[in-house]
Assembly symmetry: C2
Homo-oligomer: 336 residues x 2
């Protein structure tokens, strides 16, 4: 049994390899739900859907999110009405959100609904939401200077208008994760991140068992701050993981100092971490015995080991399902 | 100024003529919202949308609901997931529901959102929801016999299984309006109708003024029970209408003993009314001085007048916008 701590795109690609390396029914993914958002009344679970669609081979390979062959009639209509369409919900994708929202309103839990959706797509691995409680990643944007203030597209220029008389410093601004990630295109500096509701949340059904029972636990190459961070903020998950440290393998989402996708590198730097495999090792060394790094970072293997983790060097850039399967087999070799 | 009490399809057709007979900006429609339903988390307002789409010349002329040129990707996806898709929400139509739901969640009132949507479609008439409070038409289905029990598609046949030992009579069953109208295709007999929440509701913004200020008030040829009935159940509207009786013209939705569309004729009979223009006159005589009936019912004009209403005989079957405009002009002649 393999249990993978998962965010969105990076985790989905790894899982696509893992189900080629071992029977899919042996694989459980514990998926971040702190990116979940209510949009226009619909419960959207971006990471769960990215994993589901990718594993179903129905994902859009170009965007890394959404469905291939999608249409956009609903969003076009919404925009014609003046609605907020910065979070693009495709017509087929809407079917998922309609179903999830309807089932939740009927009283079903997110874990059950997630299992239903995965089964309808023919998936044989187990997808577990990290929690069924509301946990929301909130991002405090760094105090904007003029340039940033333009970048965030807001018309609150008055606050840093030097002619304004008041010597006001514009306050930091906290926004929901999707506003940071999608609306602002993660183009603004981050001052801090917190997981609203996490301290009162419970691990989702099956989550602690999946960690306790796994032969190997894998931390997917997802953003350590905003994809893996929320899982660790749910009381009980970090402790369960620590107790499996010897059997836990993390895959670095940072390759040669950069994130393959998304803002993980900048975010690490902005929050005072090092955007390198060594910085990743410092974040994970209490949780995982081994860090897998890309061949591009072979020269940093000693530095990783100096942080107290075994370092495995291999190809981690999952340009195809075959590369992902090879990476998965390597992870399982070192984890066992 | 013309104020029209409106349900869905019949009212939409009349309004399409009315805005040809007088400047659209002189027309206000007070629209039934007791058919509104939360589906998969989305606030759907079928009558408001039918009126809006029809007036925008964007409606589907074959169904009388929804948009022309609609696609069904979201519903197809929902069905593949095993979701409840009996209420068909087209992809373009979903844009409306997403926008409405999002704006309501932001704290906007239904009247403001309705005005925004109408303006986005370029409409110049005023559409007012009858109330901004939740009022829900609830339909008690007549105690099912075997045939009806099959017709309603439920697997509770045990209740009227004569071999069941228990001499149980299956209880009457109350369902929401859309379950009766759409899911059951209004193919089951109705025992009673009530408007849940009506007694605690307030008329929507502008509703009472629109009744007080109108030169002519029109009761559209909508279902008297479930389209006009909810408006009259909102405290204040029936009284306001009664005070305008002399200037109020009702158009019979019953032609030659039958409804042109929908179950109004059967519903009238099932609830103890006469499914004829005379039955309609009995329902409206306290509210309207005049009843417009179709030429097919010319022979019943005296019987209508015997109920205390003036009876105007003309073509009421609105097979085109021109017929609807002629009907509208006739209504305004007699109303003034």
């Amino acid at each position: 049994m393999i249990t993978v701590l998962a965010g969105g795109v990076g985790a989905a690609r790894l899982l696509r390899g893992m189900v080629r390396a071992v029977p899919a029914s042996d694989v459980t993914a514990i998926v971040n739900t702190a990116d979940d958002v209510i949009l226009h009344g619909l419960h959207v679970s971006p990471d769960l859907d990215t994993v589901t669609y990718t594993l179903a081979e129905a994902g859009n390979p170009e965007t890394g999110w959404g469905l291939a062959g999608e249409t956009w009639q609903a969003m076009d209509a919404l925009e014609r009405l003046g609605g907020k369409a910065w979070f693009r919900l495709g017509d087929r994708d809407l079917g998922t959100h309609l179903h999830r929202t309807g089932r939740l309103a009927e009283g079903a839990g997110l874990a059950a609904v997630t299992a239903e959706i995965a089964a309808a797509w023919g998936l044989e691995l187990t997808l577990l939401p990290m929690t069924e409680d509301r946990v929301a990643t909130m991002v405090t944007l760094a105090r904007p200077d003029g340039a940033r203030n333009q970048a965030d597209g807001e018309a609150d220029g008055q606050a840093d208008d030097p002619a304004n008389g008041q010597a006001s410093q514009p306050a930091s601004r906290e926004v929901g994760f999707q506003e940071y990630f999608v609306r602002l295109g993660h183009s603004v500096a981050v001052e801090s991140v917190r997981f609203d509701g996490a301290e009162d949340s419970l691990p989702g059904p099956g989550v602690l068992d999946a960690l306790a029972d796994a032969d190997v636990v894998v931390i997917a190459p997802s953003n350590p701050i905003v994809s893996i961070g929320p899982l660790l903020a749910v009381p009980g998950i970090a402790d369960a993981l620590r107790s499996r440290r010897a059997d836990t393998v993390a895959v670095s989402p940072i390759v040669a100092g950069a994130a393959l996708k998304g803002p993980a590198d900048r975010m690490l730097r902005e929050l005072g971490h090092e955007a390198s495999v060594v910085g990743v090792a410092r974040l994970y060394r209490d949780l995982a015995a081994t860090l897998v790094v890309d061949t591009a970072d072979a020269g940093l293997a000693d530095a990783v080991e100096a942080e107290g983790m075994a370092c495995v060097v291999t190809d981690t850039i999952m340009s195809s399902a075959e590369v992902a399967a090879d990476l998965s087999r390597r992870i399982l070799e070192v984890g066992r």
